[in-house]
């Protein structure tokens, strides 16, 4: 077992990047991602890590540098939040289209306006369809672990896709948690040096990022779509290998006291831990409530979600982003799509909660369950509301 230490989650994330033997780090500071890159720049400046640290003038450049370095075969890392991701968004589509296995940590933060530095998922939802594999994490250990998992997965010849590790800003990034660090030898064994399939090299000239005519564009996109779906077994395999090494096994959909539960809370990200406290309270009161946590956002695990939720009477889906003018929250949309074709599908009540970092305590989850159960009982089976808004 690795050493157990107390550490700020951002610092642990930076330590993981160091242990993953990344060659190129390119990032622009933005709250709440700042501590990760500050620590990385310190590590590199102190000579503790053999990497190039690029101080760029914007996030657009940060990811562009990663695209270039990754194209030459260098393991590359970037990290951002909110407006920074919005500025990067153009390049996110390019990285996945070129199949460059970049890994990014996204310390999730609200998109302006109104201006806010606090946490929600509106940043990542703005690039939901950009073609990156997207994980959500519940605590610091998961962030640390997923750096290794992500590089091994991304660089797999049968995957070759970029990965986003979502961690809730402040809620995770700025708290001190206990970590079980993995010994360097084990990391090196789990994550061998990157062997690119294609790379830019003067001895073997190739073209990356070429123009595609309408006559071939659809085929190119189909290939990309198939690639991300084909990564699903590789994701499971990588989690399994990681679990065998550390004892920490991860799944696309995780459940807590969900078997036989009539009502299921469905959450994504750090909500999971708080919601599990609420489930315990509700269970103590004799209520049949469980929890379903979505860890893998893209590719979306439709089958696993169905398996975890069919049989329940109702789902209370909690989103941390609004789809303005749309059907509610993005997670609820996906859950509804997953279950639409199933017989006896549960009623789905959707709350948007905790946007811009407003605290959502266990008691709030209890209130949401209470409210949803009453609404559904009264026939409102497709409800949606923003939780806790003052009328």
């Amino acid at each position: 077992m690795g050493k157990r230490v107390g550490m700020e989650v951002s610092i642990a994330a930076a330590e993981a990047v160091k242990q993953a033997n990344v060659d190129v780090i390119s990032a622009y500071p933005i709250t709440p991602q700042t501590h990760i890159v500050e620590h990385l720049s310190e590590i590199v400046a102190n000579g503790e890590m053999d990497a190039e640290f690029f101080c760029v003038e914007s996030e657009h450049s940060a990811l562009s540098v990663c695209v270039g370095s990754e194209a030459t075969g260098a393991r590359s890392f970037t990290c951002t939040s909110s407006q920074g991701l919005a500025l990067m968004s153009e390049i996110t589509y390019i990285a996945s289209g070129l199949r460059l296995p970049i890994v990014m940590i996204l310390a999730n933060r609200t998109l302006s306006a109104p201006l806010s530095i606090w946490n929600d998922h509106s940043d990542v939802m703005s690039i939901r369809d950009c073609g990156w594999i997207q994980f959500f994490t519940e605590n610091g250990q998961e962030v640390y672990d997923h750096v290794f998992i992500s590089y091994r997965l991304a660089e797999d010849r049968e995957v070759l896709l970029p990965v986003i590790i979502n961690m809730d800003g402040f809620t995770l990034s700025h708290v001190i948690e206990p970590f079980e660090m993995i010994e360097q030898e084990k990391v090196d064994q789990f994550l061998p040096p990157y062997q690119p399939l294609y790379r830019l090299h003067p001895d073997h000239p190739i073209t990356m990022g070429a123009f595609a005519l309408p006559s071939i564009f659809a085929e190119a996109k189909k290939a990309q779509e198939v690639a991300i779906w084909s990564s699903m077994p590789k994701i499971l395999e990588t989690w399994k290998a990681f679990g065998d090494m550390t004892g920490r096994y991860y799944k696309p959909i995780e459940t807590y006291k969900a078997e036989d539960a009539e009502t299921l809370l469905v959450t994504m990200g750090s909500f999971g831990e708080t919601a599990s406290v609420a489930v315990d309270k509700l269970r103590e009161g004799g209520r049949s409530v469980g929890l379903v946590k979505i860890r893998l956002w893209r590719p979306f695990p439709f089958d696993e979600l169905k398996k975890a939720t069919l049989g329940a009477k109702q789902l209370v889906v909690i989103d941390r982003a609004i789809s303005v003018g749309g059907p509610g929250g993005p997670v609820a949309s996906e859950v509804r799509s997953a279950l639409y074709g199933s017989d006896n599908r549960p009623a789905i009540y959707n709350f948007v909660a905790g946007i811009s970092g407003r605290d959502v305590a266990p008691q709030d989850f209890v209130k949401m369950v209470d409210k949803a159960e009453i609404e559904i009982e009264e026939g409102n089976k497709e409800g949606y509301e923003i939780y806790g808004v003052r009328e």
Binding site: L160, Y198, I206, T207, M208, A210, I216, A220, A223
Partner: protein, 99 residues
């Protein structure tokens, strides 16, 4: 040369749409962009080659008889050759009519 791109299936595209074969821009038919095509009046042609020099698509080639002729697979019909021709030997005609 590999087969034309409009016959490739999604399974045949290299990962990341990498282009492994150099010089393949020559396979790109820019000729179907045009609405006008150049017609050479051989009586007026003085074989100066200015059409060949000015053509932005390098569509002009010298034929065995010593005339520069535009390859319509590449010619976009821009008309620069006709404009630059010192003797007015090249005229741009609507493609269908010039057949």
């Amino acid at each position: 040369m590999t087969k034309p791109e409009n016959e490739w299936t999604w399974k045949e595209i290299p990962i990341g749409n990498v282009v492994l074969e150099p010089g393949n821009a020559s396979q790109y038919r820019t000729g179907d962009w045009k609405s006008l095509k150049p017609i050479l009046d051989k009586e007026k042609c003085i074989h100066c080659g200015l059409c060949y020099i000015f053509c932005p698509d390098m569509a002009y080639n010298l034929n065995e008889e010593g005339y520069f002729i535009a390859d319509l697979f590449y010619c976009k019909g821009c008309g620069i050759c006709a404009k630059e021709c010192p003797t007015g030997a090249i005229s741009m005609v609507v493609e269908e009519e010039g057949k």
